[in-house]
Every structure is written in C-alpha cells, then in structure tokens.
Amino acid sequence: MSEPFEPKIVAFVCTYCTYAGADLAGTSRLKYPSNVRIVRLPCTGRISPMFILKALQKGADGVLVSGCHPGDCHFDHGNYHARRRWTVFNSLLQFAGVPEERVRFSWISAAEGRKFAELISEITEDIRRIGPFEQYHALIAETGSPAPL
C-alpha cells in the first residue's frame, strides 16, 4: 500500500502578527497538521513573489502568505503595499494556471492563534484533497536536477 499523500506547505509570515499568532497557537497547545514550514520575515512588505516561486520549485504543494490585518502593521503600511502585490501576483498565478487553493493569503494577528491553527488545517486538508502539484513537479523533473543524497 502506498503512503497517503502528505503535502508540503510553505508559509511566509511576518514576525509581528502571523508568526506571533503561530506562537500563540503553540502556547495554547492547539493542534494542526505538521505539513507547514514557516519562513519568518520582518513584515509582509518584505515578502517577494519570488519566494512563492522558489517554494514551488522546491516542491511545495501549497503556499501560505500571511501578515498583520490592515491597520495593524508594525511598520505602519507594509501590509498595504503587500496587499497590492498579492492582488496582482495572485491574479497572475491563477491566470498562469496555478490553482487558487495552492497559494493562499491571509491576515492573522498575534491574537489569532486559533485562526492560524484552523487555517493550516484547512489548507492542508484542501491540498490533500486536490493532491500533489503534479504539473509543477513535472516542470521541476524536466530540469533534470538530481535527487538529494
């Protein structure tokens, strides 16, 4: 029997809100699937669309980008800039055929540990359901890069 599919999910989050929210999920001992790997950034303003593409290149089946709610940005308006970039890049990705479920965006505050845990569970479940991102994996395979040792 083959093992059930466990997606690889990468989350890019700002340190002041979503990272702190994830910490709160931890201190509250909320449970969520272990598929997510978090990359911490100072602000959503620092999250480049390139990160998303590189995560996909590293075989991610899903990506989450998350930061402070509008108005709560530690840097006053980094997240407003980020929101515009996301709007544009999200639309571009979908137009290029990256399914909506694969790249998600959210606002999660430092107080929303529960939202973080629930969202990770939901995203993981969604991606388990739609399966591995085979079309992208095929592109990676085409590059001929060898498997790691």
């Binding site: 407003y80 515009r84 970039r85 709007t87 290029a96 990256v98 909506e100 592109l139 590059t143």
Partner: protein, 276 residues
C-alpha cells in the same frame, strides 16, 4: 497636406531651428510592409520620415539610450497614445524629463493614421483619459476569453506549451520601453531568483516575473509581442495585469507624469476579497 508631410516639415523646422537635436521617427524598411525606427539629426534627411498605419513600434524606449538626454536638449519623437503614456511613466519613474520630449503625436485607427494634437506629454491627457475609459469597457480578446474559461490545469498546460518554446533571448525585455533596469533581476545571480536556463520552469519564472514587474506599468504597446521570435502570447499576461490594476486600483498606467506607481502606492480600502 498628409500627416506624413505635415510632420516631415515640422521635423525639418524643429531641427533647422535647433529646437530639437534629433527626431526619432519611422523610415521605410527592407520590404514594403516594413517600417523601421530612424534617428534624424539633419533637416535635409527629414524626407526619410514615414508615417502610416504600419508604424507600430513604440519608439519611446529609444530615449533612454545612455547619454542621449543628458545634455538637456530636446528630442522630437513620433508617438501614439501608448507612446505618450510611456513618456509619462518614464517621467514618473524619473528616467527622463518630459520637457525634453517634443511629441509628434499620431493614432492608428484601423488603416488610417490620424494626428493627435499636442507637443508635450501633458497635452494629451484627454486622449489618455478616453483610452482609459475605453480600456475599462474593453472585452478580453478571443484567446484570453478562452483561457479564462479553462480550468486551472488546462491553463497551466496551455502556458506550459507556450513557455516551452521560449528561447530566453530576452527580446521581450529589450523591446519593452519599461524594461530599463540597469540590471535586470534575471541577471542578478546573487541570488539567482529566476532560473536562466531555457527549460520550461525557467521560462515560466522569467515570464511571470516580467509580467509582475510590468503590472501597473505596461501600456500595451505590443513591442514585446512583436519582438518575440517564437510568438509567445505575452500580451495576454500583460493585459491581464493591466486589467487587474485597473479594476482593483483604478490605475491606468501613464495617465500623467506625476502618477504614483500602482505597486509603490496603496489605498487603505484597496480590495482584498481573496485574503482569508
């Protein structure tokens, strides 16, 4: 007098009076169908200038040739509305001063070439506004509509096929008047964000990044599509982005030379329906 003649004599006068040091326009090409960019500096050469419906290239990018404008002198350029919008963006992004650009404006309507009145980019604001209104109502072209109707997997397959042809010649970038970076992101190898190899992954990354960098800046002049030797429908990506910024931020690139770039500005009530 035809517009061609009219602009020829204007060009001649401008050069003769020393008002401009160069006229960037169109000349006959290798074949009767072809027009080519030409750089005229002597009044007597102005008879080479051609203007008709085959003059499609957006010439604005030539103004950014290193050192061309650094003496502060003016240059006259044949520009369509897209070209004027390009000047506005280049001025807004501090790549040139619009006061140095004397415009010979024209518009191509099917097979007709028509004059557009004005000398400076700022004189064309009404025409640009009309373009914006028209753009808002413009329906997606056939291929775009077909793509929108597809599901994600089909769209991915479509683009995979298109991008697999990309030979990474970067003609799209070179032809684009907005691609003026001293160093393109793809040429930065520390780190190498964009795979330079011409495999489909690298091609996809390159084309997505270029579309992203043009979001809110592309004037849809078509230079990239005409330059692409393998006819990748690049315009679809750029048009999608233009539509997106227009709808989401009411941003139409190149309205005037003070317009803030869509991605370096924001409104607190920007839409965010996709954010969880």
């Amino acid at each position: 007098m035809s517009l061609q003649e009219h602009y020829r004599s204007q060009a001649r006068e401008l050069l003769a009076a020393g008002a401009v040091k160069m006229v960037v326009g169109y000349a006959e090409g290798t074949t009767p169908e072809r027009r080519r960019p030409v750089f005229i500096t002597e009044p007597e050469e102005c008879s080479r200038l051609v203007l008709d419906a085959r003059c499609r290239t957006n010439l604005a990018g030539y103004l950014l040739r290193e050192g061309l404008l650094s003496d502060g002198r003016e240059i006259a350029v044949y520009l369509s509305t897209e070209g004027v919008r390009t000047i506005n963006i280049l001025a807004a992004e501090s790549q040139l001063s619009s006061a140095q650009v004397r415009i010979l404006g024209f518009e191509i309507d099917r097979d007709e070439v028509k004059a557009m009145e004005g000398k400076r980019a700022a004189d064309f604001s009404e025409a640009i506004l009309a373009h914006k209104e028209r753009r808002k109502k413009q329906a997606p072209d056939e291929l775009a509509a077909k793509l929108e109707a597809m599901n994600a997997a089909e769209r991915f397959t479509f683009w995979q096929g298109e991008f697999s042809r990309c030979i990474k010649c970067y003609a799209c970038r070179q032809a684009c008047p907005m691609c003026w970076c001293r160093r393109c992101v793809v040429d930065n190898n520390q780190p190498q964000w964009v795979n330079t190899s011409s495999h489909t992954l690298g091609n996809l990354e390159w084309n997505l990044v270029r579309a992203f960098h043009l979001a809110g800046r592309c004037v849809e002049c078509g230079n990239c599509g005409r330059a692409c030797p393998v006819d990748i429908p690049l315009h679809l990506l750029n048009r999608k982005m233009t539509g997106e910024v227009l709808e989401a931020f009411d941003h139409y690139p190149g309205m005037d030379e003070h317009q803030e770039p869509a991605l370096a500005s924001f409104r607190k009530d920007d839409p965010e329906t996709f954010i969880l």
